[in-house]
Every structure is written in C-alpha cells, then in structure tokens.
Amino acid sequence: MSGRRTISRAIERFVHSHAGQLAGIVMIAVLGFLWLPIGVLVFMSFADGGVLSFPPDQLTLRWYGVFLENEAARSAIVTTLTISVPSTIITVTLATMTAYAVDRYGFRGRGTLQLLSTLPVVVPLVVTGVALVLFLDGTLGLPDYLSVVLAHVIRTIPFATLVILPTFVRFDRGLEEASKDLGADELATFRQVTLPNVFPGVVAGGLLAFTLSFNEFVYTYFVKGSGDPTLPVYIWNQIRYNVTPEVNVISVVFLVVAVTLVLVAVSLTRVELLTKR
C-alpha cells in the first residue's frame, strides 16, 4: 500500500517538475503528425519520378507544367468555380440575414432558425448527401447545376453563420441608435453604419464558405450526375482508378487555396472564432 503510494508520489513529482517539457513533446509530436503528410504531398509534387523515394530523386517543376496543360484538370477547376462562387454569394447573403434577424429581433422560431442553420454540420455528410439526391434529383427533378449549388449552400451556411453571427453580437448597437436618432431609417442605417462595421466578419465568413465549397466532395459526389466533375470529384476518380503525378500538384493547389483563404479570414476576425461551435 505504502509502496504504491510512494510510486504515485514519484509520478506526481515527475509530472510536476517536467510538465513544461512533456507539453513541449506533445505539441511537437502532434503538430508533426498533422503537418508531415502535407509536407510529403508538397515534396512529391516536385519529385521527378512523381513518387516519394529515399533518397529523394531530382526535384523538378515538370508536373506543374503537365498539370497546366491537362485539359480535364483545368476544366474541373472551372467547374468548381462556377459552383463555388455563386453558392458562396448565396450563403453569405443568407447567413448575414440570419445573423441580423437572430441578433436584432425576438421572434417565434428564432431558436429553430438557429438550430436549422447549425444542424447541417452535425448530420453525417453521407446522410444529407443521400437526402439531397433523393429530394432534389428524385422528387423535384431539378437540373444538375442548380442541385449542386443548393447542396453547397446547405453545406456552407453553418460555417458562415458561425463566423458572421458573433460579429453582429459584438457590434455596438449604440451606433445604430445614434444613426436612427439622426433620422436615418433602418435600411440606410444598415447600409451606412451596420454593414461597414460587420464587414470584416462577413468577408471572413465568405472566405471560409468558399474554401469549404471549393473542397466539397460528399454532397457533390451524391447530387451531381456524371457530367463535368468538380476538382475534388476529379481527384477522387484519379486516386481510385489511375493516379498520375499531377495529382500531387493538384494537392498543392488545394493546399495553397485553403491556407491562403483561411489565413486571410483569420486575420479579419479572431482565430478564437473558429474554435467555437
């Protein structure tokens, strides 16, 4: 009994005196685990053989050239953009309306609206994907393009709302009162006072929505027919059926898009905002 106690004391003392080092090891190990695969992708995109080998073979930009000349990959990027740009605009508009209504007005169904705009994150993607193809395609018979844009809107709304709503909540409403006291109506107040103040949050929400939509795979995979694939669907087919070295380059494209947009979004708001759910 006392022996065990001594051991547990010793462990407590060890953890107490080495806490900082242990934390350092955890941080380095886990962050290494998170970034190593990304490093592997970037490295492979420059490898001459197109695969990673030890010792590394010659570095080359060849695959970037091959990628730029690949008609299918280029058209997949265009397809993705023709979906992501409009769905981002729709999402940001709807999320801003939700944020404004939820922040300003008490109304019946306010809680339900908040719940509905969060729920798509919680429901497994495959479930919503199936539901969307059954309803949009099976029941309504909507054209492919419209279905996919709507699917992307549903996918991105929770994230945009999550970022935009807190900026509305934080915004000092005294400024709006002042504007109204000076004779501006609600619409003018929104355009001239509220919007400029919440604009960074709205842009950040839009950037995250776009990033998400650019990467969107599951909904698109279910809803979209066999027509032009988006870039994620294109790369899925490549990985499953015939990997070519340009896949590595496309990986880097995804990486650059995501890192750039998320960094800009974060610089416009606070990183803590992304930690809330």
Binding site: E12, A19, M44, P124, L125, G138, T139, L212, I239, L274
Partner: protein, 294 residues
C-alpha cells in the same frame, strides 16, 4: 433618386409592420433551410418505406432486409467499434494537445492556426497523403528501412483506417477542448495544488470534470462523422474494413437501390439522434453557435 424613394417607402412600410420586417429578413434563410435541408431528410424517411424505386408501393422490406442480414449487422457493429476506437484515440491526443497549448504556451494563436489549417484542406487530399505514407514501399516503409526495420505495408488494414480518421478529426476535437480549457479559471488548479494534490490528481478531480462540456462536445463531434464516413475506409481500408457509409455509397453509385440506401441513411440518423440526445443530457453544447444564448 427614384430608387431611393422606393427604398424609403419600403423602410417606412416595415417600420409600421415589424412582423413583416422580421419575416422578410429571417424568412429567406429559413425557407432555404427548410426546403433544401429539412424536407430532403423527410423525403429520405418516406422513400425508405417504398419498394425498389421512388414512388413505389409502401413496404417495410428495406428495413427487414437490413436487420435480417447478418452481413449488414456485422458491418454496423464493426462501424460502431471502429468509431468508438477513433473517438477515444482522438480525444486522448486532442486533449493532451489542447491542454499543452492552453497551459504551457504563449503562442496560442500560431499553434491554433497550425491545428486548424490542415482541417481546411481537402479531405480527399489528406487521405491521398496517407496512401502514399502507408502503402507498401511508401514513406513509412522507406523510413523503417533506413533504420533497419522490416517494412509493414499498413495500407488496406484497420490500423490505416484508424490513423486516417485520427488525422482528419484531431483538429475537430482540439477546438472544443481548447475552448473549454481556456475558459477554465487557472486559480482553481492552483488552489488544488495548494491543498496538496499533485498534477495528475488535480487533473482528474478538477480540470477534467470542469471541462466536461467541451470533452463531450468533442467526443460526439468525432464519433458522428466517423460513423457515417465512407471516404476513409474506401481509400485506406480496402475491402476488409467495410463501414456502413460504404454500403450507402454502394446503393447510390452501383447497386442503384435508392430506397434501401435511404433506409440505411435512416439507421445512421437514428444513431446520430440517440447520441445527440445523450450528449445534450450530459451537458454537451453541440448545437451552440457562439452567439448569445437565446
């Protein structure tokens, strides 16, 4: 000028009819979410009770076929076990990381960014990276070879699936863990230590209970998407590690039995609902939105 007058009229109209004003602002997003998110889920429920195709006769056949098949039940069981394993692994690693960041680092913003950035890159790309690392003769095997160890060729094993899931969900769990740890009053930890408790005792009896909300949120956030996943087992697990999400994918991509796929979708939804209710009872904050409590 005319358009401004018209806008003025609109404003005046809404000032006199505040309920219509609310409807005009909250209505469109609500309508989109109801019609293109809630209704499709209802449609899935309806279709799951139809035969062979949409609009077929009413039947319980899809559910009977699912529950009566040992193969499918085995798949569900395996999916549950795997999801539980993933959840425990991710929670342990994620909590250790969040704790280290909150208590031992000043460069919180940078570290959080390093955690969330991989999460925002394409899921498929991240899986592709792991294919390259785990396949026989891949990065891992080469590294093992360099230190004189035999190759393991982990691709298409359950271990590969576990690694893949751990990789993609870690950021998702770290965020709620971080949020609840950073709002924990450090004085409480000091008080516990002043009263003679060591760091481990303090962790078990003070820190962990006080961050339970974040922990539960993180657990559910990892379990649910793992349970419904098909990409990771398809790319890393090969044919020996079938998960329930892959069965759905199959119904829509090759078997073309939509009602049966819808029924499996309902089975997954049922698991999700049970988990959400359980988690909310236990105090998790899954549907919170970062805004003021309503």
């Amino acid at each position: 000028m005319a358009s401004r007058d018209r806008l003025g009229t609109v404003s005046a109209f809404f000032r006199e009819h505040p309920r219509l004003r609310t409807l005009a602002i909250a209505g469109p997003p609500a309508a989109i979410l109801v019609v293109f998110f809630a209704l499709p889920l209802v449609a899935m429920l309806v279709v799951s009770f139809q035969t062979g195709q949409i609009g077929g006769a009413w039947t319980l056949e899809n559910y009977r076929g699912f529950v009566g098949s040992e193969t499918y039940l085995t798949v569900v069981w395996r999916t549950l076990l795997l999801s539980a394993q993933v959840t425990v692994i991710v929670a342990a690693i994620g909590y250790a990381l969040a704790y280290s960041i909150v208590r031992f680092s000043r460069r919180t913003t940078l570290l959080l960014l390093l955690v969330i950035l991989p999460f925002w890159t394409s899921y498929i790309i991240r899986m592709y990276a792991w294919i390259n690392i785990l396949q026989s003769g891949g990065v891992l095997d080469s590294l093992l070879g360099l230190v004189g160890l035999p190759a393991v060729g982990l691709l298409y094993t359950e271990t590969a699936v576990l690694i893949g899931f751990t990789y993609v969900w870690l950021p998702l769990a770290v965020l709620p863990f971080y949020a609840s740890l950073s709002s924990l009053d450090p004085d409480l930890i000091e008080a516990s230590k002043d009263l003679g408790a060591g760091p481990i005792r303090t962790f078990v009896s003070v820190t962990l209970p006080l961050t339970a909300t974040g922990v539960i949120t993180g657990l559910v956030l990892v379990f649910i998407p793992t349970f419904g996943s098909f990409i990771t087992p398809r790319l890393l697990g090969g044919t020996n590690n079938i998960m329930i999400g892959m069965v759905i994918e199959n119904q829509f991509k090759s078997a073309f039995n939509w009602p049966f796929g819808a029924a499996i979708g309902m089975v997954i939804s049922a698991v999700v609902v049970v988990l959400l209710v359980l988690a909310t009872r236990l105090g998790g904050d899954l549907l919170g939105d970062g805004g003021e409590p309503s």
